[in-house]
Symmetry: C2
Subunit: 132 residues, 2 copies
DNA sequence: TTATAAATGTTATATTATTACATAACGTTA
DNA sequence: TAACGTTATGTAATAATATAACATTTATAA
């Protein structure tokens, strides 16, 4: 059972926007879209984004400086994320593959470092773009 | 046998700096450090960085907006990169593990997407920081 | 209630990266 | 060598991404 997070007003506005968009959104595009709802400053957006990332409702796509709603109901803690990114249309989707996540979560090398978190980004061409 | 890339003047200055630093460096810190050598503008730095990334002499640590010299002589093409990052001291090292790279290079899911590239970042505490 | 933490509002500023345009150096081959 | 195309450089301006600092309000809970 997951912990229920009661989102605050700004957090809810911003999460709903990202979630409905169905894809990755950039911070200033989010800002532009929520100005009519009274969120006027970048910091208001970044604070909500930080919190949403922290509780796993969204993830940051590091290579794109963009944020996407979690598409994987079981990953509320954002400690093990994997994405596939189309380099042509920039479509992004979250990879939910238990073998992969098991493999990476258990990965260790000879550095003596214990990894508590990872983020993996795969790049390529999606079906649509490949057939063009 | 790898292709020999003759670095241009600016590319060489910037690669040498990053390489000697032994760790990740940020673009504007690089800029500051090479101003005495005549490189005065951000764009000069970013152009050299782009080229160095393209030919695999350096990699970008996406989660840190920083650049590190390739520590793995065999990865001149930057298509399959993995790093371990200490969240306390920000030490970064490139992971060179043939099992891991084989596993990820061959990874495919049911999306019909063929992945030509990946970047993986592991996070945790390094030995030193753990024992503090 | 009272204190504590979490969230908000606002202004300013810092950091990271690109556009646009002009010039110079380099490598190839006629 | 001369002409051509490609790559690299120089410079100024600006765009895009993100945080600092400070004041106030709202939610949580002892
Ligand atoms: Zn997720
Ligand atoms: Zn695509
Ligand atoms: Zn490398
Ligand atoms: Zn450390």
């Amino acid at each position: 059972m997951q912990k229920e997070h009661n989102l605050s007003k700004n957090q809810k506005i911003i999460f709903d926007l990202i979630d409905k968009s169905g894809g990755p959104m950039k911070a200033y595009s989010i800002l532009f879209n929520v100005q009519k709802k009274g969120i006027k400053a970048p910091l208001q957006v970044y604070r909500a984004l930080d919190k949403l990332v922290e509780i796993g409702k969204i993830h940051k796509i590091e290579s794109r400086n963009a944020f996407i709603a979690c598409q994987n109901s079981s990953c509320q803690i954002s400690k093990a994320t994997a994405f596939s990114i189309c380099e042509s249309c920039e479509n992004v989707s979250e990879i939910s593959n238990s073998k992969l996540s098991k493999y990476l979560s258990n990965f260790s090398d000879d550095s003596g470092m214990k990894y508590s978190k990872y983020n993996l980004e795969f790049f390529g061409l999606c079906k649509k773009c490949k057939s063009k």
